[in-house]
């Protein structure tokens, strides 16, 4: 049911975009154990912890970065992957600018579930135009030797499901992690620019939060 999304209001406050730095909210979704938290930690802290706990509840980390001369604060949300916890995580989908659909290349089931994750996100994030919403697909654990999902299969799925960009990553050895997150930012900015052409530039945007001077990155 959507009872929860009714109570949960938009997580990113609605503000105008006047400052140079904008806040982008991305959310990592995928089965338990595919490496969502590890990807987030690798990207934000550049560390990999083999002893990391599985996530209970919801967490997020911020990362400042510059993409194509845009100052961006990326707010990365990480959730518990087990089906059971759906009612907890779904309220946090709202206000997302990008969704990172994650599976593990050594776990076929996690790949097969991508479609369900995408559906769940679109439904609970209340995405108005799903075909235009930026998704990025991540095939994690590239470092493991026994793959169950080939690159071709994954790429084909991305093609058939809306032409999402696909990255094979390894949170463990850092392969492609930064590239994938930066691509997510580009996708969001690109969709914003498209919108910018359609509406007057002084129009209030509802999903960007300006950075205050004190917290602006150096």
């Amino acid at each position: 049911t959507r009872a929860n999304s009714g109570r949960a209001r938009s997580i990113t406050p609605a503000v105008t975009m006047t400052a140079k730095t904008s806040l982008l909210k991305v959310i990592l979704l995928g089965d338990g154990g595919v490496g969502k938290s590890s990807l987030m930690n690798r990207y934000v802290t550049n560390k990999f912890d083999t002893h990391l706990f599985h996530t209970i509840g919801v967490e997020f980390l911020n990362k400042e970065l510059e993409v194509d001369a845009h100052q961006v604060t990326l707010q990365i949300w990480d959730t518990a992957g087990q089906e059971r916890f759906r009612s907890l995580r779904t309220p946090f989908y709202r206000g997302s600018d990008c969704c990172l659909l994650t599976f593990s290349v050594d776990d076929n089931q996690s790949f097969l579930n991508l479609g369900n994750w995408k559906k769940e996100f679109i439904y609970y994030a209340d995405v108005k135009e799903p075909e235009k919403f930026p998704f990025v697909v991540l095939g994690n654990k590239l470092d493991v030797t026994e793959r169950q999902v080939t690159s071709e299969e994954a790429q084909q799925w991305c093609q058939e499901n809306g032409g999402h960009p696909y990255y094979e990553t390894s949170a463990k050895d850092a392969t492609n992690v930064a590239v994938a997150f930066e691509e997510a930012v580009r996708r969001v900015l690109a969709s914003d620019e498209r919108t910018d052409h359609l509406i007057p530039t002084d129009t209030v945007k509802l999903h960007r939060k300006p950075r205050s001077a004190t917290t602006c990155c150096s």
Binding site: A8, H51, F53, H54, I56, G57, R84
Partner: protein
């Protein structure tokens, strides 16, 4: 009826068969002289005046045979004769029954003092419980009351409704008595000069925010059901009552206004008591609580000691071993439980690949367990490294639990609950059965609809609203009134927030069921109380609150939290309206809270009893 009722006398407690031993020393060992009497706590509330008092009365049974008494009564009379609020004296009285006696004039013994005069109660036990009362006026000494026919616990519980009883440092048999704080009466002082019907009205006008200040201040208004109409978030009384009913089974809130009485709309908890916790129970103390055959003895006291801090005893606390089992019985039980465990273990061990291929649920459970075992407490020596036997045990117990409860199977978070238990038990079978017991308490948290989590979040939200409306309002204004950020705390009982040692401490405290049910919710409140200032001063929004709470992990001081949580519990307990409700569950089904117009104190009574006593007063 307000026009003619001027006095309400309410018998709060009454028990016959409470004895004094007038001829004995304080140790009460000499039993030559036994005088039976009945003990009462009576609350007298004078309407339209400031007078109210709770009085303890002990009265010798009329017609009791007490020849032995006659010899010694004179010598004690002067000693027990009191003035002012305290009295213990013989009242002359004629024994008219006298079937066994000589029919001449006898004296009756009686003892009366105001609860507010009480300094301490010392609880002793020599085959039966007996209580020593010390008054603030130290020159007065009272005889011990001997509860040969039970009732001492009930008596103390009743006393707690009027006074806060806290253990004296260094002497757990001695309970120090403090009567409701001045703050409580002062906070109502300004109401007293108002007209009889102005209470609720006054509350509405009262800029209570200014009195709220901080949680730590002496005065805490905790509940404001009928806050003024100018309030944006005003909630109708029915809604508030309904809300309370969810967290507080059994509490009924009177929603009618009647002359003579007013519905309580706000409750002042009074000052929070300072709680001093004690060091853990030692192994020596533990074995002292076993009789020759290994039965645990004096379990209430033992639980009390465990509540105050201990390691050990988990099998009993969790209900794996019955408290009254003998060593021999436990051996038998252990054997049976071992058999049962390995039968269930064999079930999943013997599933063939082909079978598993056709059993998606088992496959999913196994897959998730394997993933999570590799991600549970891996920095703990018991689970660190590759091929640590601890990992195999964790895995096997969780798989066996799936066989024990296939409907639930494995849900994330369960490995966190098992890990400390296995660490302490160091034994697969014991760990399994203790885990089973723990899961009985936690089951609802993990069920399909997560009903346990929803219920607890609602309860916690209601509780917080009662305890600290200002903070609750702040959270609500940040879309955080539903306390999502407490999810992890509640799902796995703070397992991720504390070090292993601290988890042990907190869990065994919770397993004692002391000092109240739902103590973990008060633990939540205690932590939030400590963080509230930062959250509000920094004006944290939804995201920042979540982040802040998440980042408290491993930074919490468990002793401080337990002290504060217990303090809140005592605060609530000493607040008459709420006691026996949130925490105490089903105590009184028809609890109605009244407040007399001109009184600075609450009278919590069963409505029918009030009517009865009013009728009596009229006669």
């Amino acid at each position: 009826f307000s026009c003619y009722v001027t006095f309400v006398t309410q018998i709060i407690f009454e028990h016959e068969g409470v004895f004094i031993h007038p001829g004995s020393d304080d140790d009460g060992l000499e039993q030559d002289l036994l005088i039976s009497g009945s003990l009462r706590i009576v609350e007298k509330v004078k309407l339209f005046s400031h007078d109210s008092s709770s009085v303890m009365e002990w009265d010798q049974c009329s017609g009791q045979k007490s020849q032995q008494l006659l010899d010694s009564q004179q010598s004690y009379e002067t000693e027990w004769d009191m003035v002012n609020t305290v009295s213990f004296k013989k009242k002359p009285c004629i024994n008219t029954e006298g079937s066994l006696n000589h029919g001449h004039e006898r004296s009756r013994w009686a003892l009366t003092f105001s609860v507010s005069e009480l300094r301490s109660v010392t609880v002793r036990e020599e085959g039966w419980p007996f209580l020593f009362f010390r008054l603030k006026d130290s020159s007065t000494s009272l005889p011990a009351l001997h509860f040969h026919q039970g009732g001492s616990t009930d008596f103390l519980d009743s006393l707690r409704r009027f006074a806060l009883l806290s253990e004296a440092p260094g002497d757990q048999t001695c309970l120090l008595v403090s009567t409701p704080s001045k703050a409580l009466s002062q906070s109502f002082e300004n109401l007293l000069d108002d007209n009889n019907f102005g209470l609720v009205h006054k509350f509405r006008k009262d800029p209570y925010i200014t009195t709220l200040g901080g949680f730590s201040k002496v005065t805490n208004y905790i509940f404001d059901a009928f806050r003024g109409t100018e309030e944006q978030h005003q909630r109708p009384p029915e809604e508030m009552a309904e809300l309370l009913g969810e967290v507080i089974p059994g509490l009924e809130i009177n929603q009618q206004e009647e002359p003579g009485f007013e519905v309580i709309t706000r409750i002042d908890l009074g000052a929070r008591p300072q709680v001093m916790r004690k060091p853990p129970l030692s192994a020596g103390d533990w074995s002292k609580h076993q009789d020759l055959e290994g039965r645990m003895t004096n379990v209430p006291h033992l639980k009390e000691a465990i509540f105050k801090g201990v390691k050990e005893a988990w099998k009993f606390l969790l209900g794996y071993f019955p408290w009254d089992s003998t060593l021999e019985e436990r051996k038998v039980l252990h054997r049976a439980k071992t058999d049962e465990y390995f039968k269930m273990k064999l079930q999943w061990k013997s599933v063939s690949e082909e079978q598993e291929r056709r059993n998606s649920r088992l496959r999913d459970y196994r897959s998730l367990i394997e993933k999570d075992v590799n991600r549970t407490d891996r920095t703990n020596q018991f689970y660190e490294g590759i091929d640590n036997p601890g990992l195999v045990l964790l895995h096997d117990i969780l798989m066996t639990y799936c066989m024990y409860d296939f409907d639930l199977g494995y849900v994330q978070g369960m490995s966190d609950l098992l890990s400390p238990i296995l660490y302490v038990m160091e034994n697969e079978v014991d760990a399994f059965w203790c885990f089973v017991s723990f899961m009985e308490q936690m089951h609802q948290n993990f069920e399909e609809q997560m009903q346990g989590m929803k219920t607890q979040l609602i309860q916690l939200s209601t509780l917080l609203r009662l305890l600290d409306l200002a903070f609750w309002n702040y959270l609500e204004s940040q879309d955080s009134g539903y306390l999502y950020f407490c999810f992890r705390w509640l799902l796995i009982r703070f397992k991720r927030e504390l070090s292993f040692q601290d988890v042990f401490r907190l869990w065994e405290v919770m397993w004692t069921g002391l000092p109240c049910q739902n103590f973990h919710l008060l633990v939540c409140c205690a932590i939030l109380d400590s963080e509230k200032q930062k959250i509000m001063e920094e004006n944290y929004g939804f995201n920042e609150i979540l982040k802040h709470i998440n980042e408290l992990s491993m930074k919490l001081d468990i002793e401080e939290i337990l002290q504060k949580a217990e303090g809140i519990c005592l605060q609530i307990r000493s607040c008459k309206v709420l006691s026996e409700s949130v925490i105490y569950g089903n105590f009184q089904r028809h609890l109605v809270a009244f407040i007399c117009h001109t009184r600075a104190q609450f009278v919590e009574v069963n409505r029918e009893t009030v009517f009865k006593s009013e009728c009596q007063n009229l006669k």
